[in-house]
Amino acid sequence: MTPRKHAHIGVFFQSVGYGVVWRHPDYAKTDVFATYVRFAQSAERGLLDFVFFGEGLVVREHRDQFFGSIANGRPDSLALIPALAATTAHVGFVATVSSTYNQPFELARQLASIDHVTGGRMAWNVVTSFSNSLAKDSGGDQIAFNFSKEKHLAHATRYDRAREFVTLIKRLWDSWAPAAVVDGQIDATQVHAVNHHGTWFDVNGPLDVPRTPQGHPVIVQAGQSEDGRDLAARITDVVFSPHRDLAESKAYRDDIKQRMQAHGRDTTQLRVLPGLAVLVVPTEAEAQAKAAYYRELLFTPAFMRYLLSEQSGYDFATVDLDAPFPAIDTNNPDINGALIGRWMGLSHTKGLTVAQTIQQALPLWTIVGTPAQIADHIEQWLDAEACDGFLLTPSVFPNDLDDFVDLVIPELQRRGRFRTAYPGTTLRDSLGIAAPTWSHPVVEDAVPHGEEQR
């Protein structure tokens, strides 16, 4: 009998945006370093693969104004993660960093350095900084305004830049051959220039940081669009996906693997991790009450007006939330008519108020259940080859992560679905993904850096 497939599990630090139930009395303040330490240590107590930090390059505004109700602000991941490494020994770290607003040489040396100082626990979630809002006040250009630019790059252009960016960064990580450092001593003849001259970047190299403990830090991506899937298949070790439907997730995973094969990559070296918005309850009887309490904390009238307006582009400031959906002209080019139309349809068919409609339209959790029910769900997805594990998005930190760690992890371990100890020291060890084999960073005319100088 083949051994049961184990789950790989990471956890997202929810701090910015509307997933956060910051009104909960136990919510740990996000402007305190100790909260991040506790987060990383909770994940490590649960033997999770990694903790994951997002990035947003603007203070999210709403209709061109500050809006106090949404959680905002976070430390910089690249400066935070080394500090968290000092307080943990095994858990991995995923930092989200834009390929649109950074330079490859600078980021290559930062990520390589962090892989060194964390002892091989670093991963980079490649994003191109898109705006996920369809509304008029999408953050795209506002991001550009923080980087001395007039306009955000177009989608296809961003992905073109990202492809070159990541390819180049990997070459820079290869500029130190494995034999460049032996017994703590550098052999300069094993350090190579990259001499990259591309559409976006001209970089001579070599990198000034030795080859890292993982060879390359782990690469993560969350590509859903055609460009995104292509990029994922070319470069990633781990893919985050948003699917809540098993069949969709399986189709997505199969698609990425097929594309990987076309690029000549080994499909066993990929981990697809859909988001798992999970609310753990000790007994089924508590499920409804807990979910209702969280909904009450989250869906304040102000917050519902924000969600409705932010997502649709229509101003819900004065709309009666306890009345049926008002008739809105869905042909108005300034709003997302399709979305408004769906909401209106939902409201009219089911006889829902505006407040009920937005709550129905935004399911908060993939699953609310007991540890056994959640373990069932995880097993079902693993056995269906719909994923390789999950990315947890707990609602309230620390409570909901602690519940997962203390209740669900032991259940998964009993079922032989999760590790009982970390298998090694690096993130690649935890993920079961091999270190990349070294190849010379300059394919043609390879000249060792040391020789060029003579």
């Binding site: 602000g73 600078e106 040396r109 964390t118 070599p206 000034d208």
Partner: protein
């Protein structure tokens, strides 16, 4: 704020020391080596350690670089007390990003971060950023000055109490306490606000040095700390007086530090013999001497010289550049610091927890404090009440 009565002491922990290693040795340093250096400095109650970035592997580079901020962020939670100064380049980087990384170093260290402002001055480094040549000193200095000004604006763009978490009012953020900076200068156009909290120190301590590609005479006007080298006491006094007068005129606190290579031995002749040996080794290997004042002698004689420069108002303190980091930093903590303490010239305990407290620098006033609130959205009736 008046001049401190005790000197400031810092140590440059870059590399393994300022003078050549035995030929053929090129150590690649890891966390353990830096941990030892920072621990040694903290035991000596030094104000801060200084870690530079080495961006190009040249013929004279003996060690591999680890990004300075990554390394000191890694050590911050382990080692209390000592300040952590890291190089961050203003060349080919974004103020929005770098200011945030520095703010976060301050966040994870409980207010001990300093920024050594650096600019890329050589072609080989510039060629890693799509440029053939580095820009000239005047341009680098202009960029650095605007970069510092923008960073201070971004650090101020969240007031200290911006995170309200006020459940009754429905505010996570107090929207009165956030500010667009709307900066438009020659080199940067940045709307802001930043996306992280104001640093615990208000502003990260800004260090401008005369060996990091910018003109100190100009950029020093934007600094909290100047690090420089003058070959004579008189030249140092002249520069010091001018810099402090300029700072006073603009109502700023400034600390001026001289770079010093202390060479301490049991006897004077042993100390000078070591200086000659170091210089000979440097000469043989074509090694550039550090731009720093060599102070050689017994521990008493070195303390005399430091005291002389301090009392003569040639400097508020010193950045030690050590011949051999590992062994010489042990000497600083074990011999030199106790001697300076006996003379009342150096602290006997940290009296504060932040680097600004060590340096006697006050927390900067927030330039947006009291500024009119910007437009913000109110969806709840009680939301607009202050």
């Amino acid at each position: 704020m008046s001049r401190p009565t005790q000197m400031i002491l810092a140590v440059d922990i870059t590399d393994v020391g300022a003078y050549p290693l035995p030929q053929g040795t090129h150590p690649a340093l890891g966390v353990a080596a830096y941990r030892a250096a920072v621990t040694q400095a903290a035991q000596g109650l030094l104000d801060f350690v200084l870690l530079r970035d080495q961006r190009v592997l040249g013929q004279t580079t003996r060690i591999a670089g680890i990004d300075a901020l990554s390394m000191l962020a890694r050590l911050a939670p382990e080692i209390a007390g000592v300040g952590l100064a890291v190089a961050k380049s203003v060349s080919y980087t974004e103020p929005f990003t770098v200011s945030r990384e520095l703010a976060t170093l301050d966040f994870v260290s409980g207010g001990r971060a300093a920024w050594l402002v650096t600019a890329i001055a050589d072609a080989a480094a510039a060629q890693n950023y799509g440029e053939l040549q580095a820009v000239d000193t005047a341009t680098r200095t202009a960029i650095a000055r605007e970069y510092i000004a923008v960073s201070r604006k971004l650090w101020d763009s969240w007031e200290d109490d911006a995170v309200a978490m006020d459940v009754a009012r429905g505010w996570f953020l107090n929207p009165h306490k956030l500010h667009h900076i709307n900066h438009r200068g020659d080199h940067f156009a940045i709307r802001g606000p930043t996306i992280t909290y104001r640093p615990p120190q208000g502003h990260v301590v800004v260090i401008v040095s005369d060996d990091e590609g910018v003109d100190v005479a100009a950029a020093g006007a934007d600094a909290d700390v100047i690090v420089q080298h003058h070959t004579t006491l008189v030249a140092a006094q002249t520069a010091y007086t001018q810099q402090q007068q300029q700072a006073q005129a603009s109502g700023r606190d400034l600390r001026v530090l001289q770079r010093v290579v202390p060479v301490i031995a049991p006897t004077t002749s042993q100390a000078f013999a070591r200086v000659r040996a170091l210089e000979a080794a440097a000469h043989t290997q074509g090694w550039a001497f550090p731009a720093a004042q060599v102070m050689a002698g017994t521990v008493n004689q070195v303390a005399d010289q430091l005291g002389l420069w301090f009392h003569a108002q040639a400097a508020d303190g010193f950045v030690f550049v050590l011949p051999e980091l590992a062994s010489d930093s042990a000497q600083i903590s074990a011999l030199l610091v106790p001697e300076l303490q006996r003379r009342g010239l150096f602290r006997t305990a940290y009296t504060g927890t932040t680097l600004r407290a060590h340096l006697g620098l006050s927390t900067p006033h927030n330039q947006y404090e009291g500024a009119p609130s910007e437009a913000f959205l109110v969806y709840e009736p009680q939301g607009g009440q202050v």
